[in-house]
């Protein structure tokens, strides 16, 4: 997750923006729940407080949904939510909770599956960034890919880029469909 | 005058020098131009074994390195009596940092010399038993484990003399010190399991470990010379009596060292990479009483009712050394 925030900040940096990524500091061991933050701005970022009112939320492990107050501070209406899952928001049992959000900003993507497929290991970060780029449109895929390659040079990097691209496509596709549905209704 | 082949005793087997030896066969100490690394005017007590041992060792090291030597010194008698402002007795570049960090300081010196390409300059760390076996133990073990290119010399006078003779982990059983007084049912220091630094050093499998006493100069010099031929972590443990702390006559410093070896209480040997490679045999084996009796720190063993049990216990330590290191010549005695 921490890596995800890092790559996110790098991608933003590559697009000429100021970015600040930092983990929720702790002595966590691998696998334990962690939160990482990323600020993106057009001016120098001086603020050092943790992000308490995020504009976007990337949930890597949906099993935490009911354990920690994941959504606290996220503004209903214009907040983004991206969840790493092959299930739907309803299947996850939060359909009702997110009813107040703009549906086109709510997305799920099977990032872990994609990672296993393209990288061979269940490391969903890159895929989630691809999905994030797609759902928010704040970053373009190219800079995400560059950030990934910067972090993981060589084959692993390319695998991750592939995963990210796949996720990007999936999300874009869903959004297109969703848009069509919207018009249909 | 032409010199006869070295064949007979007076050619110096046991003496410091001797006119009958070819100059290059004499000890460093016999040299008229010896470096006196620890020069006169130092404030050591009369008959100080540490002052003697330090000059023996450092002179030998200077001789072996053509004076390309730097020393780091732990806090303690040696440091205090050799460098009270505004006078120092040292002839070599020397630094005193702290009590417990000498090995590490030496590591830093060696590292810096390596970076600066001064491989010719060698590094010695030195301290007393406190700065070696107690407070300096951590840094020492680290230096050993990394096999840093440092020779650590411990001048062991078996207690904290600088602060007034308190017990250290090198203090022998039954010895009286300011913190193990000769009172109560078990007077003097406890009979612990012992903390044999040379053996602990060997357990790091460093290239070279040796013990020596100020009673056998040639042996001591040979060991320093050997140590200087080797790169990596090396350790020499030198037995240096303290007339003040042990309560023996100032003129008996060397005699006491000799007795420590001849009774088997202080085994003199060499080891490389954890294996004992040579042992200095006992020449005329003596019972431990001979060693204990002249020292006031053991006086309580020889009172109205001598503590025969305790003496026997100490003798057992000596016998164990004799067995373990094979200190007695086969067939002898």
């Amino acid at each position: 997750m921490v890596t995800g925030a890092e790559m996110l900040s790098v991608a933003a940096f590559l697009q000429g923006r100021h970015a600040q990524a930092f983990p929720s500091f702790g002595s966590e061991r691998t696998g334990a729940p962690v939160v990482a933050f990323c600020r993106i701005d057009d001016r120098e970022i001086r603020l050092r407080e943790p992000i308490m009112e995020p504009d976007a939320l990337i949930i890597q492990d949906p099993t935490l949904l009911h354990q920690v107050e994941v959504f606290s501070g996220l503004k209903p209406g214009d907040g983004y939510i991206l969840i790493n899952t092959s299930r739907s928001f309803d299947e996850l049992g939060i359909g009702e909770f997110v009813s107040g959000f703009r549906p086109e900003r709510l997305r799920t993507v099977p990032a872990t599956e994609l990672a296993v497929k393209h990288v061979g290991r269940p490391l969903p970060n890159a895929a989630l960034l691809g999905g994030f780029a797609a759902v928010t449109g704040l970053l373009d895929l190219a800079s995400v890919a560059a950030a990934i390659r910067d972090k993981f040079p060589g084959r692993v990097g390319e695998g991750n880029v592939a995963a990210a691209t796949a996720a990007y496509e999936i999300v874009k596709q869903e959004m297109k469909e969703a848009a069509l549905h919207a018009q249909a209704d | 005058m032409s010199y006869q082949p070295i064949k007979f005793y007076q050619t110096g087997t046991f003496t410091v020098g001797n006119r009958l030896l070819a100059p290059d066969e004499r000890s460093v100490q016999a040299n008229m131009q010896r470096t006196n690394s620890l020069n006169s005017g130092h404030r050591a007590c009369q008959g100080c074994g540490e002052a003697l041992g330090a000059r023996y060792a450092i002179d030998a090291a200077m001789n072996a390195t053509r004076n390309q030597l730097i020393a780091a010194n732990a806090t303690g008698c040696l440091e205090v009596f050799s460098t009270p402002y505004p006078e120092t007795s040292w002839q070599i570049p020397w630094i005193h940092s702290l009590f417990g960090n000498t090995a590490a300081v030496a590591t830093g010196i060696a590292a810096a010399l390596k970076v600066k390409g001064r491989r010719d300059v060698r590094v010695i760390a030195q301290g007393g038993d406190g700065g070696t076996t107690d407070i300096g133990f951590g840094c020492l073990s680290g230096m050993f484990e990394r096999n840093d290119d440092v020779l650590f010399i411990c001048y062991d006078n078996e207690a904290y003399m600088n602060t007034g003779v308190q017990r250290s982990s090198a203090t022998p059983p039954a010895a009286r010190t300011a913190t193990t007084m000769a009172v109560g049912r078990e007077p003097g220091n406890v009979f612990g399991q012992g903390k044999n630094l040379p053996l602990i050093a060997m357990a790091h499998f460093i290239p070279y470990v040796a013990t020596a006493t100020v009673a056998e100069l040639r042996d001591l010099e040979a060991k320093v010379r050997r140590a200087m031929e080797i790169r990596g972590a090396r350790y020499i443990h030198i037995f240096v009596p303290c007339p003040l702390g042990w309560g023996h006559e100032a003129h008996d410093t060397i005699r006491i060292s000799r007795l420590a070896k001849e009774t088997g209480l202080f085994p003199v040997f060499e080891a490389e990479h954890g294996e004992v490679t040579s042992v200095s045999k006992i020449r005329r084996q003596l019972p431990v009483e001979e060693y204990l009796r002249p020292q006031k720190r053991f006086a309580h063993l020889f009172g109205e009712a001598p503590r025969l049990d305790t003496i026997a216990h100490i003798q057992a330590y000596a016998d164990r050394n004799i067995r373990r290191f094979g200190l007695v010549e086969e067939g002898a005695l």
Partner: protein, 541 residues
């Protein structure tokens, strides 16, 4: 470099701190008297000549030796070496073979033809010496070295005295004796042979001598009353031994009985063996412990088959046998007759009961005191008559070559002083370097080397020298066994063991010096000095 204040100091600056002020005891270098020197009747500086010998400088060693004794080759054979009995090394392993090294040096000198150094200036005085024995020769040598002209009058046909007529060849080969005598004569000593002095005063007067040294020895064999048949063949030891130097050998027969217990008795018995006697029996009235003869001599005699009858006296002598009476020692250790007798076959009986001095030359000399058949002399060896000194066997003392040589030296010094109108005062003796003053740890174990001895058959048939010499390396080895008691041998211990570098090494032969500016007086140097050449003395406060 611009060093941080106080924290960083310039090397060696502590020399400004004179720690000598701490001292309550001060070390001093001393020379103590080695027991060997102390025990030598000839007053040799034994440690002194062993020292150069240790480094193989034999000539230097010989020159030190001959400052006291001109006859090392002789002494190295006939001396009973009390030095070795006194040697501290005996308490470590065995005494240093001083005598054998002395002999080696003596022989080396003869082999290489070393000569004595030219004399000091002539004094113009003339001294008469009567007798060319060890004492006379020694006196002549020393007087000559002191610049006096010396004339020896010898009654016999050759020089040497008892060394020639008392000691058998197998103990002292004649060529050795002659070589050393010649060396003395070469110093310009006049020797008149067959020149018996009948009246000392007239000889002095006629020869215009300024002083005289009498050393005529004791050549008259003591007689004891033994009832003897006319046929009995009895001779005295002195005459017998003297006759050995003559043309034809004396006839002793197959069974020889020697009566007495001194070294002469032994010499005779061993000589008899060599002359072909089947039996050579010594009859002695006491036990071996009480026997005056030197133990090594007795040992060698027994090895050669000489038999000894302890606790026996000769009652009477017959044609071909003698009667011997058994004795017992009383509580005082004196032999008492038992009346128990037995008969021994004997072709001849040799009496070795000691010798008397022929004092005829002293008739009419006023002031002389003669007691127990010998001339009494003062501590300066002068007789009761001014200018007449005496020594050797004719004065009261033990009768050995070594003692005689010592007398010669002592007398010479006093005569010299007397001639110059002064008194010779011997320098005060150093404190004795006793064993407890040594730190023997530093000496490794090195047992004495045994001199080779002649095989038994040749010892019984020939007069070849019984005891051989050490070769060069053995001699060096023996020399190096010397502990150098009480005298610095530059082992560098003091220089090495000083924790304060307060000992200054002055270089080869120059020994050491203390630097009292820094010496704290710990005393390590004194304790660790192997040879006891450092003494600690309290500082005066």
């Amino acid at each position: 470099m611009d060093k941080p204040f106080a924290i960083t100091l310039d090397v060696g600056s502590s020399l400004a701190n004179r720690t000598g002020s701490w001292r309550t005891n001060r070390p001093l270098y001393v020379d103590r008297l080695p027991p060997c020197n102390n025990a030598c009747p000839a007053g040799e500086n034994i440690q002194g000549w062993l020292y150069p010998a240790e480094s193989g400088d034999y000539e230097a060693a010989w020159r030190v030796l001959t400052q006291d004794n001109p006859l090392p080759a002789v002494m190295g054979r006939v001396c009973y070496h009390p030095c070795e009995d006194a040697c501290n090394r005996a308490q470590l392993d065995s005494p240093v073979g001083i005598n054998s090294v002395e002999r080696f040096l003596g022989d080396e000198a003869i082999r290489r033809g070393w000569r004595f150094a030219p004399l000091a200036s002539e004094s113009g005085k003339r001294v008469l010496i009567v007798g060319a024995g060890p004492s006379g020769l020694s006196a002549a040598y020393h007087l000559r070295r002191l610049g006096h002209r010396v004339a020896i009058h010898e009654a016999g046909p050759v020089a040497g005295g008892m060394m020639r007529f008392g000691i058998p060849k197998y103990r002292l080969p004649r060529d050795v004796l002659e070589a050393e005598v010649r060396r003395i004569l070469d110093m310009g000593v006049e020797l008149a042979l067959n020149a018996r002095v009948d009246n000392i005063l007239s000889t002095l007067r006629m020869g215009e001598f300024d002083a005289a040294f009498l050393a005529v020895g004791a050549h008259i064999g003591k007689r004891a009353y033994i009832p003897a048949g006319s046929a009995a063949r009895m001779l005295d030891a002195v005459s017998l031994l003297r006759s050995m130097e003559g043309e034809e050998r004396p006839l002793l027969g197959r069974r020889v009985v020697v009566y007495g217990g001194g070294n002469t008795a032994i010499d005779v018995a061993r000589t008899a063996k060599r002359l072909g006697a089947a039996e050579s029996i010594i009859v002695y009235r006491r036990t071996r412990e009480k026997m005056p003869a030197h133990d090594s001599e007795v040992e060698e005699a027994l090895q050669e088959g000489v038999m000894i009858r302890w606790l026996s006296t000769i009652r009477e002598a017959g044609a071909a046998s003698i009667t011997v009476e058994k004795m017992v020692l009383d509580e005082k250790g004196f032999p008492q007759p038992t009346g128990e007798v037995e008969t021994l076959e004997a072709d001849s009986v040799v009496l070795a009961l000691g010798q008397d001095v022929d004092l005829s030359l002293l008739k009419g000399v006023p002031g002389l005191v003669i007691r127990d058949g010998v001339v009494q002399v003062g501590p300066n060896m002068m007789t009761g008559y001014l200018g007449i000194f005496a020594g050797g066997d004719m004065v009261p003392s033990e009768r050995t070559v070594t003692v005689a040589v010592g007398h010669g030296k002592k007398a010479a010094r006093h005569i010299d002083a007397w001639l110059r109108g002064g008194r010779y005062v011997a320098p005060p003796k150093h404190e004795l370097a006793t064993f407890d003053k040594l730190n023997t740890w530093y000496y490794s174990d090195a047992p004495k080397t045994v001199r080779p001895t002649l095989d038994i058959v040749r010892r019984q048939s020939t007069f070849d020298e019984v005891v051989g010499s050490l070769d060069e390396s053995n001699a060096l080895y023996e020399a190096r066994r010397c502990l150098s008691c009480g005298n610095c041998f530059e082992c560098d211990n003091c220089y090495g063991v000083c924790p304060d570098n307060a000992v200054i090494k002055l270089g080869p032969g120059k020994r050491f010096e203390f630097n009292y500016d820094y010496c704290k007086g710990c005393g390590l140097c004194a304790t660790e000095c192997p040879c006891g050449a450092i003494q600690m003395v309290p500082e005066k406060i």
